[in-house]
């Protein structure tokens, strides 16, 4: 079964091989494990990029295959980040607090330790009590479970309400965007319990592993991100390969027709929406420890819009297209906005990329949508000669004696 699956989808194998090569290559030139040609911060950038590719694969499943233009998947990504961030911050702070209290003449009671951790974490928002949402922050197992479960549950509830009332198209997009906005505004508040606009920080330090240098940790995370991307890609490819994929693409192209075949369109949408939210959560949980910090601005609707732009530029409806889009656009965005790109002096005006990049990106999005709807991934059709002649049947039977168009329309 597995063999025939890979056989039917050679692109999966190629992708996995390239991903493995890439990971080995980066490891070989990293500071932590290799010859040290690549800076640790760039290893982190690449690791983060793999996470973005994973959330783009999720976005492609939900948008490119199922036709739901969700502007909420970066919120699920952020939630995953917050869930792991809580444990990282709690445990690390506990380590620090315990070391400092150990010097005290009287050994601290467990409650004193907890109070001191609370003081450390919530001091910035003028509080020291642990909010309810931090109840499980000391348990890695539970927080890891929440990385998947919380985005999944939110998507399930939201999707159930939205799909059941048959909200589709642009209205659904607006609704998902509203959800994202509400979530980010809520998190901005100090009393949300997640440190308001300060967010969670210091996430790059792994509790109990203070002795391990970041150059090593960064490669670990690169591996973990590559593994997650590989598995997520495989899962997505498997999901869309068989009859399920047929039904889902059918929903994208003509959901009413799918209903008349007896498929409950709403359940399918719900499955896809929830599954992809969970994948997004995992991607976020791997991303933010590499970024080191998460705050509510990361969840703002614009992030989810970027996600859609990546997938559109890469080519939706094909998984490698999503990966290409995310990797290409996010890396080049970093380059342009990071100030590395040289300014262009036109004599009368100097183009500063930091200011102009967004405009270039927006323009390319419009151009791709208009002139190359298949995106960058469409180039592979040319190379692989998979491009079929753009044949489609005559609108009405070509032969003499058939009814004419006007007779067949309602």
């Amino acid at each position: 079964m597995t063999r025939s699956f890979v056989f039917r989808n050679p692109s999966v194998l190629i992708f996995l091989a390239l991903l493995a090569l890439f990971t080995l290559g980066v490891t070989a030139v990293s500071e932590g494990f290799g010859v040290g040609l690549m800076s640790t911060s760039f290893v982190k950038t690449l690791g983060k990029t793999l996470c973005l590719a994973l959330v783009a694969v999720a976005m492609d499943l939900v948008w490119g295959y199922c036709g739901i233009l969700s502007l909420g998947h970066f919120a699920f990504f952020g939630l995953g980040g917050y869930m792991i961030g809580m444990w990282l911050m709690y445990e690390r702070t506990r380590g620090i607090v315990e070391t400092s209290l150990a010097e005290a003449p009287i050994p601290p009671t467990p409650q004193e330790v907890v109070d001191a951790i609370g003081n450390q974490i919530f001091g910035v928002v003028g509080s020291s009590d642990f909010p309810l949402v931090w109840s499980f922050a000391d348990s890695l197992t539970i927080q890891l479970f929440l990385v998947v479960a919380l985005p999944g549950l939110l998507a399930l509830i939201f999707g159930w309400l939205a799909f059941r009332s048959r909200v589709t198209g642009v209205y659904l997009s607006i609704l998902t965007q509203a959800m994202t906005l509400a979530l980010s505004l809520y998190l901005f508040q100090n009393d949300s319990g997640l440190r308001g606009n300060n967010g969670l920080s210091g996430l790059q330090n792994l509790p109990g592993l203070n002795a391990v240098p970041q150059s090593t940790v960064s490669v670990w995370f690169l591996w973990a991100s590559a593994l997650a991307l590989g598995l997520g890609y495989l899962l997505a490819a498997w999901v869309v390969s068989g009859k399920f994929g047929s039904v889902v693409r059918g929903i994208r192209d003509n959901e009413a027709r799918v209903r008349f075949l007896g498929y409950s369109v709403e359940s399918y949408k719900l499955v896809i929406f929830t599954l992809t939210a969970m994948i997004a959560g995992i991607a976020g949980a791997l991303y933010y420890p590499q970024a080191g910090i998460i705050n509510p601005a990361e969840i703002a609707p614009i992030a989810s819009i970027y996600l859609a732009v990546w997938v559109a530029i890469g080519g939706r409806g094909r998984l490698y297209g999503a990966v290409i889009g995310a990797v290409f656009v996010s890396l080049i965005s970093t380059w342009f906005t990071g100030g590395q790109a040289p300014d262009v002096n036109l004599g009368f005006y100097t183009v500063k990329w930091v200011d102009w990049w967004l405009i270039v990106l927006g323009l390319s999005f419009v151009l791709v949508t208009l002139f190359a709807p298949k995106g960058i991934g469409g180039l592979f059709d040319l190379i692989a000669d998979r491009r079929r002649p753009d044949r489609h049947g005559d609108d009405l039977g070509p032969d003499q004696g058939s009814l004419r168009e006007k007779e067949a329309v309602e």
Binding site: K243, R249, L261, D395, L396, G397, G401, A408
Partner: protein, 247 residues
């Protein structure tokens, strides 16, 4: 009513005050062919919309099967799973997918997301797909994208998908549109064959086609039944001539 597969009684529906279906009653038996004719806008398609759950009527009942369950209020997917299949007036196939995929999606099997997710084509399903493809003259084109088919072939593919569902009632809206004479004759054969074991309702404007179906005919006009009987009987009816045939 005993022994009927579908019983529509006293159904009415208005769109913005316009009565598209007006106190319509209609029954069909378990293995019966029925043709519905009538002028444009008579409500033929709307009738199918009501039976398949797409349009909810303002009044009336639609009873189905031995247990006479009421179909009104059920969603489209549920009604389809009850055994009512529908072919649309304009052929609607999944153009982006192969003929194989189109047919396989329609073949009767579990429809829930999880069974479908782990579904792998069984040998008998593949055999069924090939058998249907042969029946609709597309046997050697299974891997072709259905968007490339001609209009008549799309009509057939849709009929094939309909048969694949193994419904107990087939609602077929203008199956012969866009077909050559030979294709139309073949379509008649497929439908007549299907009607041996199940109920088939065919909406068609082409009188020669209806004649070849050789079945009871119902004439709709302004959302109600105007006449019913053999084709010769209804075509002799003066009212029918006035509103439909005499155009």
């Amino acid at each position: 009513m005993k022994g009927q597969l579908l019983e529509v009684s006293g159904v009415s529906v208005s769109f913005d005050g316009f009565r598209a279906i007006n106190n319509l009653s209609f029954t069909i038996g378990p293995a019966e062919m029925r043709a519905i004719i009538g002028p444009n806008g008579a409500g033929k398609t709307t009738f199918m919309d009501i039976v398949t759950g797409k349009t909810r009527p303002d009044a009336g009942r639609v009873l189905w099967g031995e247990k006479s369950i009421n179909l009104i209020g059920m969603n489209e997917a549920r009604i389809a799973r009850e055994g009512i299949g529908r072919k649309f007036q304009r052929p609607t196939v999944f153009e982006d997918q192969s003929i194989q995929d189109n047919l396989l999606m329609a073949v009767k099997n579990k429809r829930g997301p999880f069974p479908v997710l782990i579904y792998r084509p069984a040998a008998q399903d593949q055999a069924r797909v090939e058998e249907l493809a042969a029946q609709i003259g597309l046997a050697d084109q299974l891997s072709r994208k259905s968007g490339e088919l001609s209009h008549g072939q799309k009509q057939w593919l849709e009929i094939g998908m309909l048969l694949a569902q193994e419904p107990r009632l087939l609602l077929v809206d203008e199956p012969a549109a866009g077909m050559t004479l030979a294709e139309r004759e073949h379509t008649t054969d497929i439908l007549v064959e299907a009607a041996r074991t199940r109920a088939v309702v065919v909406v068609e404007h082409d009188m020669d086609f209806v004649r070849r179906l050789n079945c009871k005919v119902t004439v709709l006009h302004e959302g109600a039944v105007l006449a019913e009987g053999s084709l010769d009987h209804v075509t002799a009816n003066q009212q029918v001539i006035d509103v439909y045939l005499g155009r």
